[in-house]
Symmetry: C2
Subunit: 273 residues, 2 copies
């Protein structure tokens, strides 16, 4: 028996997954969130499956100590490399950010040509291609890794000629493929949305998996009778934030992204889980 | 009793420390190196002292299993945050990359105005300023963190207009201070040396701590009777390379930087140490 009033666990390699937490807060305002950002071991995007699987399992064990009713892997890399395995091991629902984004992309393409951008690990895994081709076999998928986007976002250069030039270079290979749909396959990328919109033009649909994942979560909770009773009482803060390193910096970033201020972030030793 | 024919341990958060290993190979060609790159937990530059201290201690325990005679912390961040502590705990000599670079900088400045560039953690620690002012109290030190340099180097954009623009922006605040000496306070940065040379002009001395550290190591080994007998026999490869993740990619990068090819890199689970 899972408690429908328990919180939802959300985790990411760092701050990027806050774009997913933001969508969940907007679209499921009654739900409570336990967020974990693995800031001591960020980034995941250049690491191997073995390593990311060990990290994901540790984080899931930590979130379970908070008695979460469901878990959202708010990280494309961790979803790409570990979702199948950890979901199969779990007795509570675990979803990732890839499925919902992939479904929206295959539903919105008109010419069957879809671009995906993400970290080296996500693009290297070929997961988006695999998932989307299963949903709609005839389509063509073009992946492009963009390793400088995350550090540019974390430097705060969101509207900047350097970022424009980097984006222009990364995206030009996708423009040449005449894609009509682009999946922002890393949770940092929605923060560069206006740059991408300008470079890709109005005719290319930009798919934000964070948004689609919040919708998927709402459906999943509703179907399983797990939506939170909005009048159920709770103690303490509505949402709780945990990180593996440097809690203060995280709090500033979170407050700048989320609809409500983050009052406190707790640092934990994730390697103990 | 320390065995003078034992290898030297060298470690870094990832590939950057290979610029230090390279200088040791060039200047101490008889020495053997055990290199460890913490590629599963890279980068260190944005993490806290507690975290980096835990990592450094694990790595030192690992290197001790290889019976090294001395250890070089080939990472400015780990040196800045942990050298004092781990050196005091150790019965073999441990040196970092900061002291030698700082000494060269204070000896070479003519106008007493020195710039230091590095990661957020290194610059935030103020360690270079502290060390250099102790060596020569009258000088002025200007620090500037350059968080995009490491990802640009790892992307391979060494001679690139984007890197030029980023460097120009980061370095302009130091140019305005009329520095005559610039310390490259991160082991990745020597790979951007030509860009910095062009931007800073011929009159600014660029100090590469990797080079100076190899000289310091040579002196340290000689003074302590620990220089390797060039005719001492050994089994296996002369140098050994270990990483915490993705051994193949590391091997390619290492082979492109080091004077000799890296035949094999072993992946270990550093969290077990």
């Amino acid at each position: 028996m899972i408690d429908r009033n328990a919180p939802v666990g959300v985790f990411d390699s760092g701050v990027g997954g806050l774009t997913v937490a933001r969508e969940i807060m907007r679209q499921l305002p009654d739900e409570r969130i336990i967020y974990f950002g693995d800031t001591a071991r960020v980034p995941y995007g250049s690491k191997s499956r073995d390593t990311i699987l060990r990290y994901s399992r540790q984080i899931i064990r930590f979130l379970r100590t908070k008695e979460v009713k469901a878990i959202v892997i708010a990280c494309n890399t961790a979803t790409a490399l570990t979702l199948d395995t950890v979901a199969a091991e779990s007795d509570i629902p675990i979803i990732g950010v890839i499925n919902a984004g992939a479904r929206t992309a295959v539903e919105s393409t008109r010419n069957g040509r879809i671009g995906v951008i993400g970290t080296e690990a996500t693009i290297g895994s070929g997961i988006y291609t695999e998932v989307m081709k299963k949903m709609k076999p005839g389509i063509q998928v073009f992946g492009k890794s963009c390793p400088l986007f995350c550090p540019l976002v974390e430097e705060g250069w969101l509207h900047d000629p350097v970022t424009d030039e980097v984006a222009s270079r990364y995206l030009s290979v996708l423009k040449e493929k005449y894609i009509d749909t682009l999946v922002l396959g890393c949770t940092h990328y929605p923060l560069l949305r206006s740059t991408m919109r300008r470079l890709m033009g109005e005719d290319v649909t930009l798919v934000n998996p964070a948004y689609e994942t919040a919708i998927e979560l709402r459906g999943l909770l509703a179907e399983n009778g797990l939506s939170r009773d909005p009048f159920a009482p709770f103690a303490g803060e509505k949402h709780q934030f945990f990180v593996s390193d440097l809690a203060e910096k995280f709090t500033d970033f979170a407050s700048s992204i989320l609809p409500e201020d983050v009052k406190e972030t707790k640092k934990i030793n994730i390697e103990e889980y």
